[in-house]
Symmetry: C2
Subunit: 410 residues, 2 copies
């Protein structure tokens, strides 16, 4: 007998019928002899509808009141699921975030969980009840309702799993696991059986929107084993867990593409200390999220600095950079929005050499030019023309035999 935390997102609880399907799934887990804590998001479009309502009375609603408003979405979900479970003959009880003992800080609309006092949940589990908790919310130090921001239900689930020392935290969503590449682009993409936290974090930050980075970080920190799986089928998903030695047998576990990239190059910057610091300090002040940064070798006391930013931040970036060019002594800057970032990720890179070489060779064989390169211990990213993004993903998927990844796995 194990303790499961099962989290169901908005599309899994879109309407009464979905709720009944979720209830059956939860009930089956309980019938198998396990204890179950369920975490729910708001039903379908509820959150969007509430936001629209708020905008009708105030274009810039107060954040504390916004939390008061949006928290109702999850409260509807949990009570409806409790009723659906009762209809199946199960004992179940719903709880708001505050009732479940979830304490947050005061940062309304983007609060962090500070602690969980799980006494009430444990007491109900001991009585054999299924406990259903509102995701995405908790009680602030001033006894207000604070929300964790969009996607915060995953974090609630992981935090509860950590506090309750659950055996597994299952994240039910509308995809059935984590794939070696986006299956809409790469037809032979394989579903991964397991993936390491760090790999998942790199993939999440690269735009593979299966899990929120914050919840993966939380899971890693507290050693919570996560499973990503679909609520629409009864098939195993992908387990995200601590890296084990076997995992390094797989050099590359996934290929990801981020098409929301723009490249900025500042030409002929004097090669003296403090120039880069000034530049990136000003960009941070303008709320620009700089991603990759590359500085070329200095020639005759001058260097070129290139970096990428999200494409929709290019106007803010241009305004900031153009205002700085003179003071940093640059000859000019170019802005290029036709770029994409393609990355390969795998913990096996740490112990295998020649991975970068193999990546560049594969791209070169298909005449895909690499404009920027950036590497971490378990990731290699390149910037290319956006027109080649999908092709590059396919090429790299083939080059690293990712269609056969589950045969390689031990």
């Amino acid at each position: 007998m194990a303790l499961y935390v099962q989290k169901f997102g908005g599309s899994s609880v879109a309407d009464a019928e979905c709720m009944q399907r979720v209830a059956q799934r939860v009930y089956d887990t309980k019938q198998e002899g396990h204890s179950v804590v369920v975490v729910l998001s708001a039903m379908g479009k509820t959150t969007d509808n509430l936001i629209n309502l708020s905008k009708q009375v105030n274009p810039q609603p107060d954040e504390r009141e916004m939390d008061m408003l949006l928290a109702t979405g999850e409260q509807v979900s949990v009570s409806i699921l409790a009723m659906a479970l009762h209809a199946l003959g199960a004992e179940a009880v719903s709880m708001t975030g505050p009732q479940a003992g979830i304490a947050t800080d005061s940062a309304h609309t983007k609060a962090k969980i500070m602690s969980i006092e799980p006494a009430r949940i444990l007491e109900n589990l001991e009585k054999g009840r299924i406990v259903i908790v509102c995701g995405f919310q908790g009680r602030s130090p001033t006894d207000d309702i604070a929300t964790l921001g969009r996607g915060g239900s995953d974090t609630t689930a992981v935090a509860l799993a950590a506090a309750l020392k659950a055996d597994r935290c299952q994240i039910f969503t509308d995809v059935d696991g984590v794939y070696t590449a986006d299956p809409r682009i790469v037809k032979q993409a394989s579903k991964l059986t397991t993936i390491a936290y760090d790999e998942m974090l790199e993939l999440a930050s690269l735009g593979a929107k299966v899990l929120q980075s914050r919840s993966v970080e939380f899971a890693k920190k507290y050693g919570v084993e996560l499973e990503v799986l679909t609520s629409f089928d009864r098939i195993p998903g992908t387990v995200v867990k601590e890296e084990v030695e076997d995992m390094e047998n797989i050099v590359v576990r996934g290929v990801a593409v981020d098409k929301n990239q723009a490249k900025v190059t500042i030409q002929r910057v004097p090669d003296r200390p403090g120039v880069a610091a000034t530049l990136f300090k000003e960009l941070a002040a303008a709320n620009v999220n700089v991603d990759m940064i590359v500085q070329n070798v200095s020639e005759h006391g001058h260097t070129d600095i290139s970096f990428t930013v999200p494409r929709d931040e290019i106007n803010r970036t241009r305004a900031t950079v153009d205002g700085l060019l003179e003071s940093i002594g640059s000859a000019g800057a170019t802005y290029d929005v036709d770029t994409a970032k393609v990355s390969i990720v795998g913990v096996g890179m740490r112990s295998h050499s020649g991975v970068a070489y193999k990546m560049f060779e594969a791209l070169s064989a298909h005449k895909i030019n690499v404009e920027m390169i950036s590497t971490s211990e378990i990731k290699i990213s390149v910037v290319i023309r956006s027109a080649y993004a999908d092709q590059a993903m396919q090429v790299l998927h083939d080059a690293f035999d990712l269609d056969k990844i589950n045969e390689q796995a031990s």
Copy 2:
């Protein structure tokens, strides 16, 4: 500078536009230099929609979960009004029932307010803020959300007014006050300037659905001055208050009709102790709400017992009574659903004689037959054929000159 509690019902807060109108009204009261606590119901059809959703997953939803579900309706209202007030430049903060310090018993879906700890409200009023509280809900002893049942928002408003020692509790609704008769039936019906708690209670129990009886009882108990007024116009409403001597100058303050009445007559019941007790005990056990009871003079050891019940409870009544006839020794029973109850109400009846005579005479002059009579200190009710109900209301309104009531008032 006074403290007002202002309660707005569902039709006053039906949509974003209504919310903005309510915000303006509340803001104006604040701008006049008063402190304001607002109590809100759920927006428009929200509660009905939530009930429908619950029925889709469970035909008999658990009451604790039902409260969890329905309480969200008011929470949406209060946060939206806070935002609308912010848009006008006002300082305002919303609170759930539990946050406002409203403690209830554990009777889910029909809880009673046990106490109010108004520290948080007072603290915010002192800071010059408008405080907006969810009607209809509070915190149960087990830290669950409990609702007061339909119409409970009026009770919340009155209870808060009592706890805060407010100068007046204004109940905004879709009618502009309490009338001498239903204005849809009696064209010359007059709006009352004032009415005594006891008169309002009799009228409420007679089906003049302006205020819930429970909130009037609460107001009477704690001496809270109530004003019923419309949220759609800026005109004075009707003040419900402690009876003062002057009020007795008006003998009859209102005429009410209840068409949801059925009459039962049990014939030739042996006139011995315990028969009526047996009968009404069984009806209570069958959940029948018996209203008027009349027992005729005994003839030769037998008597007839007549009573009225709500028309939609006649089947339950018939099943119970038919099962008892033999054991109580009755010859048989008749069931009549074509009846109505017409009542006149006024605290002046206590000090004026001849009121009943005047009533019967007026009805008789129009050939309206009186089938049953029941009286209290400040009310006379008669049962007549339902076909004459509206006519009887008009006749009595004329007989007691209720169209000129505001000229009679001191």
